[in-house]
């Protein structure tokens, strides 16, 4: 910065702005423990992923490993039927979970914004699923609830005279959407109910006095107030949902066939199962590009927020 600026310039500018005190040099070092590891964590793996995506790197057919192959890995992915399915599944999965969690989250936030006996305890029960580790959630639904013979749902259906269904085999993707929604509705609910509480009660009362019914109030006061929180929920969930893996790994393993294979699971199965790091890396890069488009908007919004608070 101004370390190299000539002393003449210093005397012309009054105040200590241009001068660096000795303590400031030490204080800059305080940034290192955070900046250096994060920089390494960001740049090294990403650079390697990009590099791998342009070379032949297979542990199964190691002949010609590390040879530059141009965009062949991407072309291979493109022509692989699993890739199209995985992209489609990822989009269906993302959109469904986002819509379900946001819509249900808003409804629950409005409901639990009202007062009723035992409300606080009831809220604790609603948010509980968010603290359950993903593999346990997957196992509960997989083995205890959705299993056609031993699961609660199957036995209930049988008790009322219906045919039990093997949910994860018959409807693999919807089943996984259900499991993940169960985990993430508490998250959107928690954020939205926090946001809704900050809504001015007087504003609602004023609207009620002016004759606005509950729906008009919701549409013109509550919903606009929640806009920012909804945006945050959508973007943060998007980042996490792009890497959803444990729920699929524990239940369907991407199957039957590739019916529940998402981009994240495809990258895993190409790279770790089939040992083709090159092609898997090409898939990873596509996930990064997707996430970057989303995070661009999130970071821009947070920057605005920082400036408002400052």
């Amino acid at each position: 910065m101004s370390v190299q600026s000539p002393p003449a310039a210093l005397t012309e500018v009054p105040g200590p702005i241009k001068k660096i005190e000795p303590a400031e040099k030490w204080r800059r070092l305080l940034m290192a423990p955070t900046v250096v590891p994060l920089l390494l964590w960001m740049i090294v793996p990403l650079a390697l992923t990009i590099y791998f995506s342009f070379i032949h790197y297979s542990l199964e057919s190691p002949a010609g490993n590390f040879g530059f192959v141009g965009i062949q890995n991407y072309q291979f992915l493109w022509s692989d039927s699993r890739f199209g399915t995985a992209i489609l599944n990822t989009v269906i999965f993302l959109v469904s979970v986002l819509v379900i969690t946001v819509v249900v989250g808003i409804l629950l936030a409005v409901l639990y914004d009202q007062d009723f006996p035992g409300k606080n305890v009831a809220m604790l029960l609603v948010i509980a699923p968010f603290f359950v580790m993903p593999t346990v959630s997957a196992q509960i639904w997989h083995l205890l609830l959705m299993d056609p013979i031993y699961g609660v749902i199957g036995q209930f259906l049988q008790a009322i005279g219906l045919q039990p269904v093997d949910w994860l085999q018959t409807y693999p993707l919807p089943s996984i959407i259900l499991i993940v929604s169960w985990e993430w509705i508490p998250f959107s609910f928690l954020i939205l109910v926090t946001a809704i509480k900050s809504l001015d009660a007087e504003q609602k009362e004023a609207a009620a006095i002016d004759g606005a019914g509950p729906f008009t109030q919701f549409r013109y006061i509550v919903l606009p107030h929640l806009e920012k929180a909804i945006g945050v929920v959508v973007m943060i969930e998007m980042i996490f949902l792009l890497s959803i893996f444990a729920e699929i790994f524990t239940t369907t393993k991407g199957g039957p066939g590739d019916a529940s294979t998402t981009l994240a699971y495809l990258v895993y199965s190409l790279g770790i199962n089939q040992f083709d790091a090159g092609i898997a890396s090409a898939g990873g890069i596509l996930a990064v590009v997707l996430a970057n488009i989303v995070s661009f908007f999130l970071v821009r919004m947070l920057a605005k927020n920082l400036q408002q608070n400052a």
């Binding site: 204080r27 305080l30 940034m31 423990p33 955070t34 900046v35 994060l38 964590w41 793996p45 990403l46 791998f52 629950l108 009202q114 035992g118 009831a122 029960l125 609603v126 948010i127 509980a128 699923p129 603290f131 359950v132 580790m133 593999t135 346990v136 959630s137 083995l143 205890l144 609830l145 031993y150 609660v152 036995q155 509705i185 954020i191 926090t194 900050s198 920012k228 945050v232 980042i239 893996f245 444990a246 524990t250 994240a264 990258v267 895993y268 770790i272 898997a280 990873g284 996930a287 990064v288 997707l290 996430a291 970057n292 995070s295 970071v299 920057a303 927020n305 920082l306 400036q307 608070n309």
Partner: protein, 272 residues
């Protein structure tokens, strides 16, 4: 008027409790199944002879304690490492901000936007090259790096809330930087920082993506252990439930206590 509002309130309570029960039912169900015998566990009945057999099976028949130990080491180790890495820079940015501070903070956040799957392949290889694969240290490092932006952000906001005058008064009285940190900042920011620590512990405890991909046996935490249980054909359901209940119970109670920090931490302060 009064009568109808009383009915409305009752309806609200019934609906609120019904939905809560619906959401909690799966967790309630593992708690019930954990106390069944394996024979009872394959039926959905609520009438059964409670037993602790399943817990005994978990403790004697598996490496459960190894997995518990790994989970505890990873959760606490990564949180401690995270704090060591985060506190200095949070202190610097909160008390000695420069023009670059804002963009630095945003950059740190943006590292969180990288989807794990985008770097899975290189991390997998690097961890093998560095002999970090299937080690507790390896998982501690990954979790600390994943949570570092959250830790910096939270510590930064708590430090920023400390009135500047107090530190100046301390300095006039001749306190060194170390004394300032320990005697003034630590007590003032303790409540905020300890709930941040709880949040980081929860996140590391429940982390599954890296736990599944970077461990084989020795360093497998509970998330990986539970995933490896194949209770197919209705077998070992009680055992799985007992193991799951122990893995989930304590962390859920912690989660209930950290709700507010959770909202703040996971939304990076955009929603308070």
């Amino acid at each position: 008027m009064n009568k109808s509002s009383a009915w409305a309130k009752l309806g609200l309570a019934v609906l609120g409790w019904f939905i809560a029960a619906l959401f909690f039912f799966p967790i309630f169900w593992i708690a019930v199944t954990a106390f069944k015998s394996e024979g009872d566990a394959s039926t959905a009945s609520l009438i059964f002879q409670p037993t602790l057999d399943a817990f005994a099976q978990v403790f004697t028949g598996t490496d459960y304690f190894l997995n518990v130990r790994n989970s505890i080491f990873v959760a606490f180790g990564s949180t401690i490492l995270c704090f060591i890495l985060a506190i200095p820079s949070a202190y610097r940015m909160a008390f000695y901000p420069t023009q670059k501070t804002q963009s630095l903070l945003l950059w740190m956040l943006s590292t969180k936007m990288m989807p794990a799957v985008g770097v899975l392949i290189p991390i997998y290889f690097i961890w093998q090259w560095l002999h970090l694969f299937d080690t507790v240290i390896g998982l501690v490092i990954v979790n600390a790096l994943m949570n570092l932006p959250i830790a910096v952000w939270m510590a930064y906001t708590y430090f920023s809330e400390v009135p500047k005058g107090i530190l100046e008064a301390g300095r006039i009285d001749g306190a060194t930087a170390g004394q300032e940190l320990w005697h003034l900042l630590r007590p003032m920011t303790m409540p905020g920082l300890s709930s941040t620590a709880l949040l980081l512990i929860i996140l590391a405890w429940n982390e599954a993506f890296w736990s599944l991909n970077l461990t084989a046996h020795d360093a497998a935490p509970l998330t990986a252990f539970i995933a490896s249980q194949t209770g197919s054909q209705g077998q070992f359901l009680a055992q799985l439930s007992a193991a799951s209940l122990l893995a989930v119970g304590p962390i859920m109670v912690m989660g209930w206590f950290t709700q507010k920090q959770l909202v703040r931490g996971l939304t990076f302060g955009a929603v308070k």
